[in-house]
């Protein structure tokens, strides 16, 4: 019995090790590529680049082009951090753009999500179930069909009202519909005992006071979770931003920028001159986002399972 158990353990250790290698190798490859000194996309065909160095990182910070023959004379088309123009103006790159969008989204989307989920969880009003059903059904419609309409509406605003598109457009698009994703925080609010509310109501508290003074202090974890999710959203989001941004570098986000760096503008070639820079930038962006994700791992679990445990 014991021998069987040990064999089982050994087999599982072996399987897990093999799987871990499979899962980590691509990422390790990416990190190694970022330290490649070969320039261009030559190093792609090897697992470990021929020569190692920090040139790719220098390239993305100084916006120079590190290609096969060394430093190229022209500048990189992709501004990741920031760039100083000849006339001295500072151009903010995609990283900071995304940071601004992420912060804006975090504030507005968190507010909207919490408001919706609180209302749907704690308050009883006419049309509540209808709103929930509509939210569910709206999630079924392919999002970017509406996105195209939104794009033209923004163009309309630009031409008719003179308000140009900008980062606010992205913040608006990311956060305005955030209320529909109320499920996880509603599940959390559902777990807070309703008796507390009732007790407060007997003592004469209004619903706003209950929300502000009782429910909010009790729900710090879900606020943190919602805020972090909203913050992380724009970092990995491609479809909306690519459609809205097109080629406007003033509101480029990292996802679109990196996609262009990796694929090239025509969307067909597998590797470009910017391959090494792409890897460096990807590593740079992945680190903070990954840390955040690991930090809110446990919320993710309770989010997926939370709704069902109660059933």
């Amino acid at each position: 019995m014991k021998a069987r158990r040990i064999t089982g353990d050994v087999v599982i250790y072996v399987i897990l090790t093999v799987m871990a290698v499979i899962w980590l190798l691509p990422i390790l490859w990416l990190v190694l590529q970022s330290f490649s000194n070969e320039g261009g996309s030559l190093s792609q065909s090897r697992f470990i680049p021929k020569s190692l160095g920090f040139e790719n990182y220098i390239a993305i910070f100084t916006n120079q082009r590190w290609s096969t023959g060394g430093w190229a004379s022209n500048y990189m088309n992709h501004v990741i951090f920031f760039d100083v123009e000849r006339d001295g103006t500072i151009v903010i790159g995609s990283f900071f753009n995304t940071l601004i969008v992420a912060f804006g989204t975090m504030i507005f989307a968190t507010l909207l999500t919490l408001m919706t989920s609180y209302a749907l969880s704690r308050l009883r009003f006419r049309g509540r179930t209808i709103i929930m059903k509509i939210c569910l059904v709206m999630g079924m419609f392919p999002g970017f069909l509406s996105l195209i309409i939104m794009y033209w509406l923004f163009r309309l605003i630009e031409t008719d009202l003179g308000i140009p598109m900008g980062l606010w457009t992205l913040i608006f698009l990311y956060s305005a519909g955030a209320g529909a994703g109320y499920y996880i925080s509603k599940g959390f609010f559902d777990t807070i005992s309703k008796q507390i509310d009732e007790a407060a109501m007997i003592d004469g508290a209004s619903r706003f006071q209950i929300f502000y003074k009782i429910t909010l202090p009790l729900s710090k974890p879900i606020i943190v979770y919602t805020a972090l999710t909203a913050f992380m959203g724009p970092w990995g989001e491609y479809i909306t931003s690519s459609f809205i941004i097109r080629n406007d570098s003033s509101m480029m986000t990292v996802a679109v920028e990196l996609y262009k760096m990796a694929i090239g503008t025509d969307g067909t070639s597998e590797a470009t001159d910017y391959w090494g820079s792409f890897c460096a930038a990807a590593v740079f962006i992945a680190i903070p986002v990954s840390i955040l994700f690991v930090f809110m791992q446990k919320y993710y679990v309770s989010g997926v399972t939370g709704g069902a445990v109660k059933g």
Binding site: P26, W29, T116, M140, F141, L145, S175, G179
Partner: protein, 1036 residues
């Protein structure tokens, strides 16, 4: 005769039928010609009846049609006439705010000094008109005429006018809806307004009757029309007043008072009738408006109107008065329903205080329910369990003794039965069923020698074997009480001082309100404190109505006695409270009764105030002084009014009217009270309380409306235009359902569209199924491996996998794309390792024309794979196309991406499965395999089941994996329609169709609608099956 008999037998039916039939035939055999003739005759008769029936039906039908037509036309004419008349009245007879327009609405608000509301209404109207005049109309015109597109739009193509046009259509529809609802409320206002006018007319008419001498010019007119004109011209009567007065019997008017009174009465009666009608109509309308979502606003507006009129014109409706009386009648407190909540609070106090023993236990123990939120929390005793075990008969044995004792049952069954019969807490139920199950099993088995049931403060299950049922329960009880004692010892000092700690335990045990629990804890501590002091000689225990106990009454008593005193005081308070309310109700009903029997008190009333007082007091001792006063005053007033005059109301009549009114109060008192209209500032405050939902949801709903709902309607509408790649350049759009037609092969369009759509649909569904279920199964397997008992470094393994999902997906996917690309490390490795040169590649057909090996098409026909085609004659290449390999890669990479997600959520669930389940099943001899299928899998499925459907839907719309890996395939794939690739999902195809220079947006919209339908179908299934949706209320 024969036939009849047969039929009657058949009617009876049953088994004997055949034999009976046979007997009949045996008995009366007829010659063939008779039977044939009879059946022929029967046939003829049936035919005749049939023809007649048909004729009759036809005639009836013709008549119906003719009459229907006639009545239809007649009704239509009448209906149209009515509608015109109503509309005419609505718009013609009312001045000021009768128009169906926000202008009028806004202005009428200004009239009432509701400036903010007025500004809102005006602004809405003005914005709409301006917008529509400037933008909307031109856009619609542009869309439909479409020949001349204004210059300013040329830069953006025709999308801008198209969007504006559709936006205009939506806005107009919205306004039509709003107006139609608004019209109703306008009609309502009209009715009220009419009533005011009517009262005015009534007053003027009365004035004219009383002072008819000065209306000589009116008397001279022979016709009513003439009188009307004179009244309007010479006397400044309104149109309605003139009409009213013109019908008065001017000829019979004479200055005698009697005549005036008669006329007066007649007029008043007429007026009363009209008013009643108007009010019932008004009420109906208001109800209807309230039922409509948007109409609430208008109903509100109307309420204001009513109240304003009441204060300025000085008359009040019966209903309004009743409401006010009702307020003074039942609302002792400020808030509606406050009485009930107080009663409830008192009752829960009593229910807690009724168990002083249990409260004491709370003080000396630390129950895990309030501390950690679950029975399985380690370290604390389970107090509810202790109470249940102390008295098992109360909980279980009394309920079903023979089922539990001596009969082997599954734990689950016991729990189910317990749940069913005794509505007790689920966790307690589970724990008890476990104990009872063990007791049962133990009592059936032979005794294990050399075991003690209780060892080192823990229960040794093997030691229980051979003991009888009650003995096992006793062991458990001993065990739990021992734990309770230990805890009491451990936490004695902190428990004695903190009412909050005790309160939390009381909440856990009794499930009562926290505030009540704190108060009870305080009472307990007070009783305990006073118990240690000697009782003062001069203070005796006393109680008050409000539930407070004289502190000194407790001195010298034991804590339990002190609690009993509290309990008694609360009981007194409740009974006093209930009595008070009963008195109020009784007095209202009594008043109604007194008013309905006027003649009985007539004599007493005539004898004077005091006699009446004592008479009523004798019959209704419960009546309060206030009510008594009112009744007596009414009686005396009625007596005074009841002069012997011919037309004056009799005493009886006045009292009967009063009685009716009182009855109305009494019945209204049972109904809800909704409050009156408030000032603006107060109204705003309700948005933080009763209407907090509106405040909170306004922004999210608006946001979703702008970002998803309106664009959704847009997209669906665009599916019916000709915005495709051909017209994209022409900038020429019209309404045209060509995309739908070409999809369903109804002519027009490309014949490839439908087959391409079907191919991609199949691949989308296959992909969604594979992606969902493979990820799910493999994820569970990985989670099980990591969570196996012997495996060390669980956290490290988990984190290793989590790292891959922590990195933004586009990075990992682009990375995979380059790894598997033709010049990526994998293909390079394959080439250098002699995989191809050893003859594998040529055999498989992966060669260039000159025989050089070609990279393996992991990602299908991405560009850069050379213009040279693969060996088209090779059977392997023919059997497994490049698209096939790309699909395989996509599914595998998706597993790579998806497993960690499933693993993460599943291992969370695995850790939550209580160990007891495994332990007890092990005692019963379940194998590991059996445990997995009977415990682990059902648990996982139960928790993650709903998310499985959601992720299925998510995979149908999974854009990232496909788009970043292959981009859906080449833009122009032979055999596929515009922009579709071999590995495209519907969603990536839509993306490609609707982006780029030659967007074919109507086709994209058509497919969007279809995806919407498919996903909607699945999501409705998911929604209906989601337990948390069904039992939502139970979990709060």
């Amino acid at each position: 005769m024969n036939d009849n008999n047969n039929e009657s037998y058949e009617d009876e039916g049953g088994l004997a039928l055949d034999s009976v039939k046979g007997l009949e035939k045996e008995a009366k055999r007829e010659p063939w010609y008779v039977s044939t003739g009879r059946s022929f005759g029967r046939f003829l008769a049936k035919l005749a009846v049939g023809i007649l029936g048909f004729l009759f039906d036809a005639i009836k039908g013709v008549f119906t049609i003719v009459f229907g037509l006639f009545f239809g036309i007649y009704k239509a004419i009448v209906g149209v006439g009515k509608a015109f008349r109503t509309a005419h009245r609505n718009f013609y007879e009312i001045d000021g705010y009768g128009k169906a327009s926000y202008f009028a609405m806004g202005l009428s608000h200004f009239k009432r000094k509701l400036y903010i509301d007025g500004i809102i209404y005006l602004a809405i109207e003005i914005i709409f008109i301006l917008w529509f005049a400037l933008v909307g109309w031109t856009s619609i015109a542009n869309l439909s005429l479409s020949e001349q597109v204004s210059e300013e739009f040329t830069n953006q193509g025709n999308q801008v006018p198209l969007i504006q046009g559709i936006l205009s259509v939506i806005v107009i529809i919205a306004f039509v809806i709003v107006y139609s609802i608004y019209l109703k409320s306008v009609h309502d206002i009209y009715v009220i307004h009419n009533e005011i006018a009517f009262k005015d007319a009534n007053a003027r008419a009365l004035y004219a009757i009383e002072n008819n001498a000065s209306f000589q010019d009116v008397r001279e007119c022979k016709t009513a029309r003439g009188r009307r004109e004179v009244l309007m011209r010479n006397h400044g009567f309104s149109r309605l007043a003139a009409r009213y007065a013109s019908y008065l019997p001017w000829n019979r008017l004479d200055p005698k008072p009697h005549g005036i009174e008669a006329l007066f009465d007649e007029a008043v009666r007429y007026y009363d009738k009209a008013r009643a009608k108007v009010y019932s109509f008004y009420d109906d309308l208001r109800k209807k408006i309230r039922l409509k979502g948007l109409g609430d606003l208008f109903a509100h507006f109307l309420e204001w109107d009513l109240i304003e009129r009441k204060s300025t014109r000085g008359y009040s409706s019966v209903r309004d008065l009743a409401n006010r009386r009702y307020l003074s009648f039942i609302h002792t407190y400020d808030k509606y329903n406050d009485f009930h909540s107080r009663e409830r609070t008192l009752k829960s106090y009593i229910s807690v205080l009724e168990q002083p023993k249990a409260i004491e236990d709370c003080v000396y123990s630390r129950d895990p329910i309030s501390q950690k939120g679950g029975l399985d929390a380690k370290g604390g005793p389970d107090m509810p369990l202790v109470y249940a075990l102390r008295d098992p008969s109360k909980y279980i044995r009394a309920a079903f003794p023979e089922e539990l004792i001596g009969v082997s049952r599954k734990k689950k069954d016991i729990q189910a039965t317990m749940n069913e019969r005794l509505a007790m807490d689920g966790k307690l139920c589970a724990a008890l069923s476990e104990i009872f199950y063990v007791a049962n099993e133990a009592s059936k088995k032979a005794k294990v020698p050399g075991h003690e049931p209780l060892k080192d403060g823990k229960i040794d299950k093997a030691g229980l074997y051979g003991m009888d049922f009650d003995a096992v329960l006793k062991v458990y009880l001993e065990y739990y009480e021992g734990r309770a004692r230990e805890y009491a010892k451990k936490h004695a000092s902190e428990n004695e001082t903190s009412p909050k700690l005790i309160a939390s335990r009381i909440v856990g045990l009794f499930g009562c309100d926290y505030k009540i629990a704190v108060n009870v804890a305080r009472m307990y501590l007070l009783a305990k404190k006073m118990g240690s002091k000697p009782a003062p000689a001069n203070k005796l225990p006393s109680f008050t109505k409000s539930g407070k106990v004289n502190k000194f009454a407790l001195a010298g008593k034991s804590t339990l006695d002190g609690l009993a005193l509290f309990l008694e005081s609360y009981r007194n308070a409740l009974s006093a409270f209930e009595k008070e309310n009963a008195d109020r109700k009784a007095s209202a009903l009594a008043k109604a009764e007194i008013y309905s029997r006027p003649s009985e008190y007539l004599a007493a009333a005539k004898a004077g105030r005091n006699a009446l007082l004592s008479a009523i007091e004798k019959d209704y001792p419960n009546l309060t002084d206030f009510d008594l006063d009112e009744v007596v005053r009414d009686y005396l007033w009625a007596l005074k009014e009841d002069r012997k005059g011919k037309d004056a109301p009799s005493f009886e009549r006045i009292m009967a009217m009063k009685g009716k009114e009182a009855e109305t109060y009494a019945t209204l008192a049972q109904e809800d009270f909704h409050g009156q209209l408030m000032r603006f500032s107060k109204k705003m405050k309700t948005y933080l309380d009763e209407r907090f939902a509106v405040t909170v949801l306004a922004l999210p709903v608006l946001g979703s409306l702008v970002v998803s709902i309106v664009p959704l309607i847009f997209s669906m509408l665009i599916a019916f235009t000709n915005w495709d790649r051909y017209t994209y350049a022409n900038r020429h759009f019209v309404w045209n359902p060509s995309a739908w037609a070409s999809l369903f092969g109804l002519g027009g369009g490309d014949p490839l569209f439908l087959p391409t759509f079907l191919e991609l649909l199949v691949w989308t569904l296959v992909w969604a199924v594979l992606a969902t279920f493979l990820n799910y199964i493999f994820g569970i397997i990985v989670a099980l491996m990591i969570n196996r008992k012997g495996i060390k470094l669980k956290k490290m393994w988990r984190t290793l996998f989590v790292v891959t999902i922590a990195i933004p997906q586009f990075i990992t996917l682009l990375c995979m794309r380059n790894i598997l690309g033709s010049s990526g490390p994998v293909n390079t490795w394959l080439l250098t390792q002699g995989w191809y040169t050893d003859g594998v590649a040529p055999a498989l057909g992966f060669t260039y024309a000159n025989g050089d090996p070609k990279p393996f098409p992991f990602l299908g026909d991405l560009a850069n794979q050379g213009s040279l085609p693969y060996d088209g004659t090779n059977p392997f290449v023919l059997a497994f196309t490049r698209a096939f390999w790309a699909k395989v890669t996509i599914v595998l990479v998706n597993i790579w991406v998806g497993i960690p997600y499933t693993m993460l959520s599943t291992s969370g669930i695995l850790m939550n499965i209580p160990d007891d389940l495994y332990e007890s099943s092990q005692i019963d001899g379940a194998s590991k395999w059996r445990q997995f299928w009977s415990i682990t899998m059902p648990y996982i499925l139960f928790v993650t089941g709903p998310s499985l459907l959601t992720s299925f839907i998510g995979n149908i719309n999974n854009f990232n994996v496909i788009y970043f890996l292959t981009g859906g395939g080449a833009e122009t794939t032979p055999g596929l329609y515009y922009k579709a690739g071999n590995t495209s999902l519907l969603i990536t195809w839509i993306y490609k169709l609707s982006t780029g220079n030659q967007a074919s947006y109507n086709e994209a919209s058509v497919m969007g609608c279809i995806i919407f339908a498919i996903c909607g179908f699945f999501s409705i299934i998911a929604y209906k099956r989601m337990g948390s949706v069904k039992n939502e209320e139970e979990f709060q």
